[in-house]
Symmetry: C2
DNA sequence: GATCGCATGTAAGTGGTTACATGATTTA
DNA sequence: TAAATCATGTAACCACTTACATGCGATC
């Protein structure tokens, strides 16, 4: 069995939901999965070729009337099996490399005003993310009717929402009593 | 001004707290900062050389009686200024690439039992991390008396603790009603 | 006929890891 | 004296990004 990178499994996973072109995958990452996962074209297209070489997906050129050149990938039985094997492997929690915490740990070099500014900025960005996140949840709830991944996506975005709320609450609390 | 990577700023930040050898930096990352930040030797030693070339740190060989060869780095005035400039730059929240969420988003391919197993395993690892985290907090509270970074480290680890607790609570909740 | 969005792709570079090499000092 | 730990370092490789190239169809 060929070793695949996490990024390749993510691409394979998206194709497993429905046949897709590279461009569709890029769009999903840009629009919906932005804060969870993202890959550049320079990753996606070579990954698709590799998946096909390993017979985990097949490709057909889209021939629907007057369409642009589009290469649609479909998962194979072998691909589905390898995907499931990966899903069943235990996964470690991702290391948490939050830049603002690195800076805060050097807070002794900054004035209280400077720290406040850094944290206010961080908080605003989190609030912005939370807003977008809620839009995505609303989108899933209304547009994914009958799609089999709907309940799972809602669980995923629920964790993300809770974490954003936790971070925002932390910001508010410490902004009120900085050392 | 030379462009530095985030990793280089982290090394510079550690040296700013007190003069250190490469080995000390590695130890800190291994013992205390494991879940926040980590760098390999193949990164740390070249970074130290680069910082010295750019006159952001100076180095002296440790000559204390019978000691091993140890190269101690001390931050310069220029280094301190550049570090502070970096601290004051706004930082974006880190993209959140949690592998378990990728897998859960493909939950339609798994049985309820399989999903349970994945989530139980994830929860156990989080609980283990939380335990270690609390040890570190206790360590900071007792061993960092009078150190100027103490209050800031406590704020940092407080966020990490809250986030771990949020994730664990999320696990418990969804384990009770998986689709 | 210009320009926007769809669609696929690659060259060059960066940031990072794994795994190993080296050698000294301390401890069992 | 063997093993563990301290301490520094590098070669080879991998994953990923930035920035660009290309060309077609739809829209203005």
């Amino acid at each position: 069995m060929t070793e695949l990178t996490k990024s390749a499994y993510v691409v394979l996973g998206l194709i497993s939901k429905r046949p897709q072109a590279g461009y569709d995958i890029k769009q999903i990452m840009r629009k919906i999965a932005r804060y969870i996962w993202s890959e550049s074209n320079a990753q996606i297209y070579p990954i698709l070729k590799k998946l096909e070489q390993n017979k985990l997906v097949t490709s057909q050129l889209d021939k629907t009337s007057g369409a642009r050149r589009r290469c649609i990938y479909t998962i194979t039985k072998k691909g589905m099996e390898q995907l499931k094997d990966w899903l069943n492997e235990p996964s470690d929690p991702t290391p948490y490399r939050e830049e603002v915490l690195l800076k805060l740990s050097l807070g002794q070099h900054l004035s209280k005003k400077q720290l406040q500014k850094i944290l206010e900025n961080y908080k605003e960005k989190l609030e912005e993310q939370l807003k977008e996140e809620k839009e995505i949840i609303k989108h899933i709830e209304t547009e994914h009717e009958k799609r089999p991944d709907k309940p799972y996506l809602l669980l995923v975005y629920n964790q993300i929402e809770k974490i954003l709320e936790t971070k925002i609450a932390w910001c508010k609390k410490i902004l009120n009593h900085l050392p």
